[in-house]
Amino acid sequence: MFKEIYFFELRQGFKKPATYIYFSIYFGLSLVVGMAIVGYFNTATTDTNTIANSTYAVSEMLVGFNDSILGLVNSVILVAIMATAIQKDYEYNTHPLFFTKPIKKSTYFFGRFLGAFTLALLVFFGQVIGYFTGTLFGLGTDLVGPFHAWSFLSPFLVFTVPNLLLLGIIFFSLTTFTRNTLTAYLLCIILLIIRIVSDTITADLDNKTMAALLEPFGANALQLATQYWTPSEQNSLAIPLSGILLYNRLLWLAIAIAITAISYRKFHFSQFLAPAFKINWFSKKSAEGEQTAIVSPFDSLARLPKVTQVFSWKQGISQCLYLAKFEFKKLIGTTFFIVLCALGIVMMVIISQFMGSMYDTETYPVTYQILEVASGGFLFFILIILVFFAGNSIWRERENRLDELVGASPVSNVVLFFSKYLALIFVLFILLSLVLLTGVGVQLSQGFTQINLTEYMVELYGKSWLSMSITAGLCMAVQVLSPNKYLGFFISLVPILFINILFGLLEWNDKLYIFNSSGPRLPYSDMNGFGHTLPVYYLYKAYWLNIVLFLMLVSLLFFPRGKEKNYKAKYRLSGKHYGIGYKVAMLATWTIAFSCGAYIYYNTHVLHVFRTALEIEQLQADYEKTFKPYERIRQARITHALIDVDIYPDKRSLATKGYYFLKNKHEVPLDTLYINYQTEEDSYYFSELAPDRAHTVLQNDSIQGVKIFVLREKLQPGDSLKLSFAFRLEPNGFSNNNPSTDVVHNGSFFNNMLLPSIGYESRAELSANSARKKYGLPPKERMAKVDDMEARMNNYLSKDADWIRFETKVSTSVDQIAIAPGYLQKEWEENGRRYFHYTMDSPILNFYSYLSANYEVKKDKWKDVDIEVYYHKGHEYNLERMIKSVQHSLDYYTANFGPYQHRQVRIIEFPRYASFAQSFPNTIPYSESIGFITKVDDSDKSKIDVPFYVTAHEVAHQWWGHQVVGGNVQGSVLMSESMSQYSALMVMEKEYGRDKMKKFLRYEMDNYLKGRTSEGKKEMPLMLVENQAYIHYNKGSVVMYALRDYLGEDTLNKALRNYLQKTAFQEPPYTNSIEFVNTLREATPDSLKYIIKDMFEDITLYENYVKDLSYTKRQDGKYVVNMTLGSQKFKADSLGKQVRVPVNDYIDIGIFSNKDSSGEDIPLLLQKIKMDEPLKAFTFTVDREPTSAGLDPYNKLIDRNPDNNTWKFGSTPPPVRLDDKEETTVTIKVGE
């Protein structure tokens, strides 16, 4: 009998077209994803080291299907397949037929459940088959490796099957017991919240394990288990079903089985006879009991009062309003709605606790953070609510079988439809108001009172409300046309979700056809407000609103009034009967949509050139093909830059006039002058660009922005010429892309990249080798070799100058301050504008910036150096910290590295269109989003003072970058970025103590280990780093801090000082990292010389661990500690493939106690020992009772498993997987 029921269920499933639709959705979606990953589509190409058909890649893909709105799609499909397996017997009243047959409960229950579950598995297997088929398109490329069936099957078994079982049984049980699919949806939304929250809280490293364990779909667990997998490991390893991942899977599988067991026990055939179990938390109990009908004769109908019926236009409106109110009450009166709102609020509050974390330090809950970060989850909920409510609303009459009653009443379709639309819009209003209230609540609860109500209003009511109403309208139109509600949900998701995914993969990014697009956007900035894009935003919304209104009107032609099913009959019932108003509305919406579209097209395609990513790639290839020959033609170099810049913030325009002196620094005469300039395509209009010598223009490519002059008379060695230029930046309409933020209403920030530059720009070449191959270009190294003497003739910051003299006159509107490097010579007002004249008194790199905004200024001093912070009013939070950091930095750097070359340090805030700080000569532009709104909690010892750190880093660049600068070769950022990191670490350590560095370094280590997993080309050793942030920042910090530990601060700093003295302000050839590392090597004692090679020249990793540990208390009250410690050492290649090398290293050993009042780990013993064997036993005697101990306890060495470096006494450390046979222990006794 079980077999019959099981196969009956399956057969039923196979008969339904929906089953095939669901399968096709998954198949299609993952097919496209697979094809995109293997580069089948004609899109722009990037380099990658990972293959698309590894177990890891398949797992990522499958797990990704649980994210955000896709997770919801999963749930909808699963509910459709599984939830109703038993429920439908009730719905169609077939249950007595089944339950009166001699079927055992288990047979019926499991037959139905497993039948449906099998069906679900088959449907979801479409994800695997689709992806597999997609990757087949990559056969023969580097993007796929050898195919193994297991790579595709094992992720399905590990992730999809348990997830389906979990969700499936929940849906199945809840629906069976409550006879309502809404509860099932609610639960799946709760699971989604856990998923989202888990993602958020992993910003704090300490939460990673917890999140991995508790997140129901295994995504965080997978992430944790594979977080440090190098590309080579990603391509070859199987999913490690052990540790956290195993526990996570077992936990949720156990929960699923438990739910199954409980449901089975609770299930009785008779339950369908009883009234449905209802979750009725909020509705009041139906008041009166059953009332007996009172029998009384009917009165005469003649006594009925007379009424007047009104069928006017005005009555239509009042009907519409009444019905909207009625529908609104119906929508928000549901438990579903109330629970969703509660969940949304909860989620928002949780997320707001982790906002904007940077090194686990939160930012102040400024309004844009609340709106962008915290409310993200809530807004996603609103989207869910909107899709569901549109369906429920349109189908309400039919589902409650009132459709004929309403259909026969004299109310118009337009009123029926738009009243529902109005109701939904009002629901949106309520929801957005909830977001507002929660947001303000969060802000106030965190003691933050600078609430930006205008921003809330504009973002929530001015933008989100409008935008969501557009989406709502579309969903309603879809539901009117859809033959059933669930299909309607799906079709609604097509424009909202599927199309976007597809277009994204295909790089079809014209906002004219991306549904409900917002046009070019600027994020909200406290400095620049909403920027200038608001009107364009409304233009786009008007475009989409009218398209949607038009679609709504079209849908009304087929409004389901009455019982007709086919569209022709629906049209005859509804469509035929609309009057002139309807036709006018259709024409009007169409006309407005068309006009808006045309105007958008005019701006994005006529006023601006529209280029796809692929076309841009093509352009880059063309640049190289056309101009590469000029790379070898020597150019005169900039020695002076004298520039007048007029900034017009209100018009966002710029007028620049200036000149360079170009000097022939070579030994041969020069006759060719190669100039790059900004093109008219980007709204730059040059009125002058010519040398002051007789010349002919050889070529002027206005697309690429290249102008090549031939000098009639050659420029002799040592001789100079003057290159004058004048241009205006005149922004013109808007383009499809996000606008340039160089010049804005308040907070302009740009650098000399906008100005003409000299010589072939090799950085403009295509860098991805896979893309180069496509255009027939030879493969290209990311950077010149470290010892390339030709390349070392340029520094890495500028290819057309060495040290220059700089002077500038800059003007701006009268309410703003304009800033450029140099010292202010004069400030005056003229013609209603404000002028500043800056001159730099010492040579600087050809690297300078301009800023202009309405600033407040805070001034201070360090010795005779002026410290100034230019900030936006309201952003006073961290000014003191920044100034203190500048002072301490100057203290440390002048004492240890050498004198400061300027007399001034200026920190200047700029809008959050970029989130970095950058050091220019005596000028540090600093984004409002980092540092300025960081909330440093001095009472919380675990928090890092981010503004202090960032400031120290940038000040350090005045030495490391602006005094010493490496050649344009591998490794040069070691002497700028890594050294600035080291310098900042030292300043921080002086201020906050060594303890606080631990946390910072943990983040650095984590970021390095994570960074290398997504390396697309080659991971380089630190000495040969090719502008790889995860190496020069994160690994640089770890390595330099460890080096300081091995060598001692004084020794190291002395070496650094020597190096700086030798190389500061040097002329070409510029120094390289070999020289730097050699300086360090000289300072290193012979016994430690190996660390220089390990740290800088190789990629070295350790696995340090505790094998076991114990202690005994001695008679004299001292403690004897016995421990066996292991150390494995590896060298990795550029893809992260590692080989074991013998260990023979000095490593810290530590024994700790947290038994004092503070509860912190106090070292009882900390010393360096030599690990010359992979496994060694040690015995130490300490004075106090130890609590933990281990090898390299402070994680100074790079180790992918830092957690097992130390271990607590009294528990057994987890075994460490070894590459080869068990190590033999060498026992060493270290005296008392």
């Binding site: 009104v310 009555q315 009166g333 409650n400 009653l405 004299p410």
Partner: protein, 290 residues
């Protein structure tokens, strides 16, 4: 003002011919539409109620061309469908008010008066604050008629209104209907012969989408009077009799079967007994016509 139906036909997309060239003129008063389930009654009702489109034909109510002027019809239509439900958690008072608004009764005072009056008429006033979705079958039907009577309709269509009602309720319902029928066209669709017998001046018998009979109940009886024969037989004999005669009905009595047979000539010789024809016999003979 008569309702005139001309040449109305409707075929569903699955090929089922629901209405086959229907021609009817329905005057003021109660009009019975008798037929078995699936005869096309509901299709015809919905078509008249503007909820379905015929493939061909015209329907006029006075000056109103129903197929073209649906809104005009709906203004004067009261409709109680066969199968209907309610919004959950809405009281009778609220829901009737809701329909009153839909019917264009704009004046608040008038609306409240008519709503209360109708609730009283249909004897629901006492329970007006209860959720309609929790009403018993009879109360639901009465609510259905209350909403149909909103706004003084000229045409009232009630589709199978008494199915599932107990005799007392049904009786009360009939009284109400006949009173409505004094001033308006009331089309009553049913498969219960008694309903028509008691209430209707005019009636049609429908089967398989066609009108089998059109006239008054007594005319109907006249068509078969003298042709109905009754006999008591053993159960096993039924198939033989079915082959030999036009058996229109059979019912069990004391272990034996009483059958009615339609036959124009005398069957006394074959052991049959002549019986006075009833409307039921008309109905059964029509719908079992070979």
């Amino acid at each position: 003002m008569d309702l005139i139906i001309e040449n109305v036909s409707k075929t569903y997309s699955n090929g089922l011919k629901a209405l086959n060239n229907i021609n009817l003129t329905i005057p003021k008063g109660m009009f019975g539409l008798l037929g078995p389930n699936g005869a096309g009654k509901s299709s015809l009702m919905r078509t008249i109620a503007s909820l379905q489109e015929p493939d061909q034909g015209t329907i006029r109510l006075g000056d109103i061309n129903i197929l073209e002027q649906k809104d005009e019809l709906r203004k004067v239509l009261g409709y109680l469908p066969q199968d209907f439900g309610f919004y959950p958690k809405v009281s009778a008072l609220e829901l009737l008010n809701h329909f009153a608004i839909l019917k264009g009764i704009a004046n608040k005072k008038e609306r409240s008066e008519i709503v209360n009056a109708l609730l009283q008429q249909t004897n629901l006033f006492e329970v007006r604050k209860r959720y309609v979705s929790e009403y018993s079958g009879g109360m639901r039907q009465r609510f259905g008629i209350a909403q149909a009577l909103l706004g003084d309709p000229k045409l009232v269509i009630v589709d199978e209104p008494t199915a599932g009602l107990d005799p007392l309720e049904r009786n009360r319902f009939h009284n109400l209907l006949s009173e409505i029928g004094e001033n308006t066209i009331v089309i009553l669709s049913t498969h219960i012969v008694d309903d028509v017998k008691n209430l209707c001046r005019q009636m049609v018998v429908m089967n398989k989408g066609t009108i089998q009979f059109n006239g008054t109940p007594s005319q109907a009886i006249d068509t078969v009077n003298g042709h109905i024969w009754k006999k008591t037989i053993a159960k096993e004999e039924l198939p033989d009799y079915k082959k030999a005669y036009h058996v229109i009905s059979s019912h069990v009595s004391e272990g034996n079967l009483n059958i009615h047979v339609h036959h124009t000539e005398s069957l006394e010789n074959e052991g049959f007994m002549a019986v006075q024809a009833s409307l039921e016999d008309v109905y059964f003979s029509t719908i079992t016509k070979k």
